[in-house]
């Protein structure tokens, strides 16, 4: 894990949203941080290269554009774990995938542009892996705001 500088922490604390939409947004965001546009661009490049950031840009809600978003899980036999991971990750509809400690040991989020696309993606995973997909579509959303500041 790379050492984070005070500036990196400040970037993480202030830039997880509200990135400006204007001609020179990095210059504007850098101004808020009291640094130069070049300095911010360089830090962001480094944070992405170090995988401290997975991305810098817009986060979309596919349901708001007519698509579907489903949390799903598989109970993968340990001997097949790497093979099944490769199969599941190969689908572009798989947005995130986590290994978790449970009989259902693979949890992933499927994001599809259409509602019909969801059933197809699930069927494809079942066919390729030979394992039943447990689908947990949200019935109600109480809260979502994944903004965590740097720790440690």
């Amino acid at each position: 894990m790379p050492e984070l500088s005070p500036l990196d922490r400040q970037i993480l604390a202030t830039l997880q949203g509200d990135f400006p939409i204007c001609e020179r947004p990095y210059a504007e965001a850098a101004g808020r941080l009291g640094i130069s546009e070049d300095e911010l661009l360089t830090r962001l490049q480094q944070l992405l290269a170090d995988k401290v950031l997975t991305r810098f840009g817009p986060m979309f809600q596919i349901e708001e554009m007519g698509g579907a978003f489903v949390l799903a899980a598989l109970a993968v036999p340990e001997v097949r774990y790497d093979e099944v991971t490769a199969m599941v990750n190969a689908l572009p509809q798989v947005a995130h995938n986590y290994r978790r400690e449970h009989a259902l040991n693979m949890w992933f989020v499927l994001a599809t542009e259409t509602k019909a696309g969801m059933a197809e993606a699930i069927a494809r995973i079942e066919q390729e892996t030979g394992l039943p997909v447990y689908a947990f579509p949200k019935e109600r959303e109480f809260f979502v705001e994944m903004k965590l500041e740097a720790r440690a």
Binding site: P2, G17, A27, K51, P58, E64, R140, F142, K147, L148
Partner: protein, 158 residues
Amino acid sequence: MIDATDRALIVATQGGLPLVARPYHAIAEQLGIPAEEVMCRLQAMLASGVIRRIGAVPNHYAIGWTANGMTVWDVDDAVVDELGARIGGLDFVTHCYRRPRARPTWPYNLFAMVHGASRDECAAKAAEIRGLLGAACRGSDILYSTRILKKSGLRIGS
């Protein structure tokens, strides 16, 4: 709803914004539309909720949140929505949803993500949730993530 130009804009930005001084102009050039239009459309998608936010997406492990627990609860259907709203209101819960059960394998209908620098920290947060649920809770578990297998975010085809 979005149109074909919005969709092209999503395809162009879903992997991230260009790290150049005028990123929206760079996207505009790539798509062959005016920069003003790119900015107006992004603004409109933010307003309508198609874009949740624009900014840095951290790898939470890399910034010190090494324990990430999906707490799951079997809560009485009669009160799950009321309690879900209260749990979603806790400042340490980053996601909270009601989802269908899949009995017998999966008796849980309420999901709340908690994070910490240690599992003890997550467990303490789960205990706080447990306290709020009270007698309505009939069972629970915490599923810790042990590996990020993929974290690309949304990817629609071009």
